[in-house]
C-alpha cells in the first residue's frame, strides 16, 4: 500500500525541503520505491537540493493540465533507481494546483510507488493545504523557537480538522521532527529544549536534526545531506528514517559537545 507522507511546518525556512530530500532519499536507499513531490509552485527548490534542476522538462502543473504524462514528467534520481522527483513549476502561480488535479496525480503515483513524499510550501494557505490534504502521515518540521512551534501547533490543528482523513473520521499519523537544534544554545537558554517542544506539541518525536554546516554544504552540491553519512545531520536523518519505518533507535546529538580534557584543564 502506497503511503502519502507530507513534510509540513506552517512557518517558512525551517527545513522542510531539506527534510523532504533527506527522508525521500533515505527511504529509497532502503529499497522503497519513492517519489518526492514539490508542492511549492513558483518557488521550486527541491530540484536544486536534489541536484536535478538541469534535467527538468515538464512539471507538476503540466502533469495536472495533461500537457505531459507521468513518464515524461518524473525525473529519475542519479543515485538511486528507487527515487524519482516530481518538480514544481517555476512559472505558474499557486492557483494552478487544484484539488481534483492533485488527487488525480497522487492516484497515479500510488500505483507505482511505496512512498509519496510531499514537500509542502510554507504557510497555511492553499498550497500547504493541498500538500497535506491527502496525506496518511505527516512530518511536522519545527525549529526550537516559539514562533515555529506555534505555527506547527496550528498546522497540527489543520491536519486533524481539514484533511481528507479527518473528514472521514480517521487520523493522520503525526511525527515531530525538530531541526536546526543547537544544544549549546539550549543550554544558554536561547532556544527551546526538546522537552519544551514535546510538551507544547504533544506528538511523538521522530528525530532531532542538529544545526549543521553539512546541510548547507550538501545543498550547494545538490546532494541530499543524508548521503553524507559522516555528518551529524546526515546520521540524524538516517535515524529518523529508521524510526519512520518502525525501528526503535535512541536519539543522538541532544547534548552539547563535552570539552576535551586539555580544554577543561586549561580553559577553552
Amino acid at each position: 500500500m502506497a503511503k502519502i507522507l507530507v513534510i509540513t511546518s506552517g512557518k517558512g525556512g525551517v527545513g522542510k525541503t531539506t527534510t523532504s530530500a533527506a527522508i525521500g532519499t533515505g527511504l529509497a536507499l532502503r529499497g522503497y520505491k519513492t517519489v518526492i513531490v514539490d508542492f511549492d509552485v513558483g518557488l521550486r527548490n527541491l530540484d536544486l537540493i536534489m541536484g536535478c534542476e538541469r534535467r527538468v522538462v515538464y512539471d507538476f502543473v503540466n502533469l495536472i493540465n495533461g500537457d505531459s504524462n507521468l513518464n515524461q514528467t518524473l525525473i529519475k534520481d542519479k543515485r538511486s533507481d528507487n527515487l524519482y522527483i516530481l518538480p514544481a513549476s517555476q512559472t505558474r502561480d499557486k492557483d494552478a494546483l487544484t484539488q481534483e488535479g492533485v488527487q488525480g496525480v497522487l492516484d497515479q503515483l500510488k500505483e507505482t510507488f511505496d512512498f509519496i513524499v510531499c514537500d509542502s510550501p510554507a504557510g497555511i494557505e492553499k498550497g500547504a493545504h493541498l500538500a497535506m490534504y491527502f496525506a496518511d502521515e505527516a512530518i511536522v518540521v519545527t525549529n526550537p523557537e516559539v514562533s515555529s512551534v506555534r505555527d506547527s501547533d496550528r498546522m497540527l490543528g489543520l491536519l486533524s480538522s481539514k484533511s481528507r482523513r479527518s473528514e472521514q473520521g480517521e487520523k493522520i499519523k503525526e511525527h515531530l521532527l525538530l531541526t536546526r537544534y543547537s544544544p549549546e544554545r539550549v543550554e544558554n537558554g536561547e532556544m527551546l529544549s526538546v522537552s519544551d517542544v514535546e510538551d507544547i506539541l504533544s506528538i511523538p518525536l521522530l528525530g532531532v536534526i542538529p544545526e549543521s554546516q553539512a546541510v548547507l554544504k550538501a545543498s550547494n552540491q545538490g546532494i541530499p545531506v543524508i548521503m553524507d553519512d559522516k555528518s551529524d545531520a546526515g546520521q540524524a536523518y538516517s535515524d529518523a528514517v529508521e524510526r519512520l519505518l518502525g525501528k526503535e533507535v535512541p536519539h543522538r546529538f541532544l547534548e552539547a559537545q563535552k570539552k576535551g580534557l586539555l580544554k577543561r584543564l586549561f580553559g577553552g
Binding site: D153, L158, I200, S202
Partner: protein, 254 residues
C-alpha cells in the same frame, strides 16, 4: 372554539397535564421611587440591547425599595416598563404589598433568597439571554432537562475554537496557546490550559473553569476576565478553579 356535546363530557381522556417547570426570569430590583429617572435609565438599557427587552417577562422586586409605593406610583412604573417592551408579571416582596399587587392584577411572590445575579445587558445579544431568579412552579415528575456535555479528547490547537453551546465543555488533552474554548456552562481541562477559556459566555455567572495547569492567555467567566499578565502572579501552572464572586474572578487551588 370547539363546542362540546354532553357525550364528550363523559370522555375521561385528560385535557391537561400538570407539569413542573423551572424558568429563569429577569428581576427588576427597584431601589428608589423616581419615575422620571427610572424612565431615562431604562431607556438607556433598552438601547444597548433592544432584542433582549422585547416582550421580556419581568419580576419587579420591591425588597430593596426605600420609598413608599402606592397604586398610582405602581401603575406609572408598569406603564414605563411596558412602553419599553418589558412585561411585568409579578411583584416580589413582603405581605404588605399584596393589596397593591391585586389592584394591578399582578401576582405577589414571597421575598427571594438573595440568589439573584446581576446582569449586564448582553453585548451583541444573540438571543434573549440567561437570567436571574428561578421561579419554581408546582411539580409533577418529569424528565430532567439536561444539555449534553461536549467532550473533546484531542488536543485543541492554535487557531482552533471549540464552543459548548448550552452546556459544559470537557477537554481531555492540552489546550494550546492561540486556541479558544467557549462554553455556556463550565469548562474543565484535564491538561495544561494555554489558550483562552471563556465560561458562561451567555451570562451564567455560576459557571466555572477547572484546569490542571493554569497557563492561559485569558480566562473569563460571564464576561469578567483576566489576562496572562495578571494570571502569572498567582497559581501559575497549578491546578485551579476559577469562579466569579460578585464581579471579581476568584482563582483557587484545586
Amino acid at each position: 372554539m370547539t363546542s362540546e356535546t354532553n357525550l364528550d363530557l363523559l370522555d375521561t381522556d385528560p385535557v391537561f397535564q400538570l407539569k413542573g417547570g423551572m424558568l429563569t426570569m429577569t428581576v427588576l430590583e427597584l431601589v428608589h421611587l423616581a419615575p422620571q429617572r427610572f424612565a431615562i435609565q431604562l431607556a438607556e438599557k433598552v438601547e444597548q440591547a433592544p432584542n433582549f427587552f422585547q416582550d421580556t417577562p419581568v419580576l419587579i422586586s420591591l425588597e430593596k425599595l426605600d420609598d413608599n409605593l402606592d397604586i398610582s406610583g405602581l401603575i406609572a412604573l408598569l406603564r414605563i416598563c411596558r412602553d419599553h417592551g418589558l412585561q411585568p408579571v409579578a411583584l416580589r416582596g413582603a405581605e404588605q404589598f399584596r393589596p397593591l399587587a391585586q389592584q394591578a392584577s399582578l401576582v405577589l411572590l414571597p421575598p427571594g433568597r438573595n440568589r439573584d445575579k446581576i446582569i449586564e445587558a448582553p453585548e451583541p445579544a444573540p438571543q434573549p439571554v440567561a437570567q436571574q431568579a428561578e421561579v419554581a412552579s408546582v411539580s409533577a415528575p418529569q424528565p430532567a432537562d439536561t444539555t449534553p456535555t461536549r467532550v473533546i479528547t484531542e488536543p485543541v490547537r492554535s487557531g482552533q475554537q471549540v464552543y459548548a453551546r448550552g452546556g459544559d465543555l470537557v477537554v481531555l488533552a492540552p489546550v494550546s496557546a492561540g486556541s479558544e474554548l467557549l462554553a455556556d456552562g463550565h469548562i474543565h481541562v484535564y491538561g495544561p490550559l494555554r489558550g483562552r477559556a471563556l465560561a458562561g459566555v451567555r451570562g451564567d455567572t455560576r459557571a466555572r473553569i477547572f484546569c490542571q495547569s493554569l497557563e492561559a492567555e485569558l480566562v473569563s467567566v460571564a464576561g469578567q476576565y483576566k489576562v496572562a499578565e495578571d494570571l502569572r502572579r498567582q497559581q501559575w501552572k497549578e491546578a485551579v478553579q476559577i469562579s466569579l464572586e460578585g464581579d471579581i474572578l476568584k482563582i483557587a487551588a484545586l
